[in-house]
Amino acid sequence: MKDFSTWLARVMVTGTLVAAGVIAIGLVWFLAAHFGESPGDHLFSGEPKYFTDPVGMLHRALEWNEVGHRRGLIMIGIVLLLAGPPVRVALAGIGYFFEKDRLFAAISAFVFLVLVFSFFW
């Protein structure tokens, strides 16, 4: 279990840093396009539909030529960031499963399902 914890800790830190890196690149790229504009022009108008679920967001972000793809890159980073906790719970559940701890594997699976539900309901 100790090795597993160390490994899990490393996955968490790496994931967070990668996500932060993508967000930072996206932000710089985004600001380069909006230099000198008022933030009100792009803030608080409510997000367009395609930015409101992870799958739609990834689709949009990967369409390089579309308007909004700079924000799309930031969104990819955000999705990576938000994927951290569900991945962590899933890994913990798998860990319990291999330890033959059925009850805790089921509890982890339940928490994981609540998280998935909250993203895709």
């Binding site: 504009e37 933030p39 803030l43 938000l82 719970v89 909250s118």
Partner: protein
């Protein structure tokens, strides 16, 4: 303010909130939202969305460190996450149906309670594993943590009341876009009588999972604006990283008093704002 000045200012403010938050032991969320609302005039729902993302970022980093040290209790964390995630989904759904003024008032009240909880004197009342709640024994929630004189075993009391308080902490997290660490800590150290070290470490793990349960709903509602989430989460993450390293040298006791007083003023301002009264 124009770009990029606006985003840089937001990032700088978030950085400061991250440093202070990690020094004082309050998460970024509870500070960053009022800062964005009062300081930058941002709609509270967008502020909450950005704050929640920053909570997930810092929780991942902090939880990893504790996990490596073998202090956090994963079994307790996962088990209580059942309560907090369900609570968070309920809270976030309620938030999307609520008037921003009402949210502002509730936020202010939660801030006041958080300050009171953080300022109170803490008394550890650890149990031995044998004195544990039978449910805790059945779920094997008891554990041990490393201390100077070897591993120290501890018991866990009040599993069901603790579970209920955790649900409330989850609702607050979803409703207000905060990590609600202060409330989680109360459930664990006051109700379940888990040692402080374990409580802090485990709540860090739970905060990220709880926040992730409400952030999906915020996302669906369009409260996550990439142009705001990016500077806030990067700023808070960098701030928390620096704060953790300053912990050994900073005058933490003095900072605590100054900071908690400042949060009191912010709390009153948030309530006044919700009531439509402008102060200062």
């Amino acid at each position: 303010m124009t770009e990029p000045t606006f985003d840089l200012a937001v990032a700088a403010a978030s950085f400061l909130a991250g440093v202070l938050g990690s020094l004082i032991g309050l998460g970024g969320g509870i500070i960053i939202t009022p800062l964005l609302v009062i300081g930058f005039g941002i709609d509270i729902r967008y502020a909450m969305g950005a704050a929640l993302c920053s909570v997930i970022a810092t929780s991942s980093g902090a939880a990893a460190a504790y996990l490596r040290d073998g202090i956090s209790n994963m079994r307790i964390g996962i088990f209580l996450c059942v309560a907090t995630t369900i609570g968070a989904v309920c809270g976030a759904m309620a938030a999307t149906r609520m008037n921003p003024s009402v949210l502002s008032i509730i936020f202010g009240v939660a801030l006041l309670i958080t300050v009171l909880l953080s300022a109170r004197a803490k008394k550890e009342r650890a149990l031995t594993p044998n004195e544990s709640d039978p449910i805790a024994q059945r779920l094997r929630l008891t554990g041990s943590y490393p201390s100077e004189d070897g591993p120290r075993a501890y018991g866990v009391a009040g599993v069901l009341p603790g579970f209920a308080v955790m649900w409330v902490a989850g609702v607050l997290s979803g409703l207000l876009g905060i990590g609600s660490g202060a409330f989680k800590v109360v459930a664990m150290d006051q109700v379940m009588r888990i040692p402080f070290k374990v409580t802090t470490a485990t709540s860090n793990f739970m905060i990220g999972v709880t926040a992730a349960a409400s952030v999906g709903i915020y996302l669906k509602k369009g409260y996550l604006d990439p142009a705001l989430v990016a500077p806030v989460s990067l700023g808070v993450l960098a701030g928390a990283f620096v704060g953790a390293r300053l912990l050994a040298v900073a005058p933490v006791a003095l900072l605590r008093v100054i900071f908690l007083s400042a949060v009191l003023i912010i709390a009153v301002q948030m309530i006044a704002r919700g009531l439509g009264v402008q102060i200062g």
